[in-house]
């Protein structure tokens, strides 16, 4: 139980990372590979936020009832992950647009067959 309470978030984050990496390495359909990229991104963001957590801490926002910074969570990883999420979605949108054009040109989305048809 103690082991779980220490490492459960790291196990979840790296589990997602490895499943996403396995999808990107072994699947043949291009859209499946892009789904794997999305899952890999989510795993990395989970790991970054799990590092910045302090036990018993609260969200880094002041209000009328929270007026001192006694126990607040680290705000820097949250800013980095905010930037990362937006960049992840723009990469995904551009990759899907290129996949649509590839399908229009070759007629298939199988990566092995596209590699064989050169020029």
């Amino acid at each position: 139980m103690n082991f779980l309470s220490q490492y459960i978030y790291y196990i979840g984050a790296f589990g997602l990372f490895f499943i996403g990496l396995y999808i990107m390495l072994t699947k043949k359909n291009l859209i499946k590979v892009i789904i794997g990229l999305d899952i890999l991104d989510t795993g990395v963001f989970l790991f970054l936020i799990a590092i910045g957590y302090t036990s018993g801490g609260t969200a880094p926002i002041f209000s009328k009832s929270v007026t001192e910074t006694g126990k607040m969570v680290d705000p820097v990883p949250q800013a980095l992950v905010l930037t990362g999420i937006v960049i992840g979605v723009s990469v995904l949108a551009l990759a899907l647009a290129l996949a649509i054009r590839l399908y229009g040109h070759y007629g298939t989305l199988n990566l092995r067959k596209i590699k064989e048809q050169r020029w």
């Binding site: 459960i8 196990i11 499943i19 859209i31 999305d38 992950v81 999420i85």
Partner: protein, 80 residues
């Protein structure tokens, strides 16, 4: 109590990710990946990061799924 909730959520998230690996119908795989994004948003809230939870829920669960479904409509639906 917090540890039990976190364990259950992480297990459901990993099962959904493995389901995205296994399904042959691409529409089902996209819905599984959107479940992963949604549970990640809940875990971000449990780790005291409300800004990131809002961004992941709005962008990862709604807009990315819509873009995937529009792209699947234009190409094939099944994985071979």
């Amino acid at each position: 109590m917090n540890v039990i909730i976190a364990t259950v959520l992480v297990l459901v998230m990993l099962v959904a990710a493995i389901a995205a690996l296994i399904f042959k119908d691409l529409l089902n795989a996209v819905i599984a990946s959107s479940v992963v994004s949604l549970i990640a948003a809940v875990i971000f809230y449990l780790l005291q990061a409300p800004d990131v939870a809002m961004a992941e829920a709005a962008i990862g669960a709604a807009l990315v799924t819509a873009i995937f479904i529009i792209a699947i409509r234009r190409t094939k639906r099944f994985e071979e």
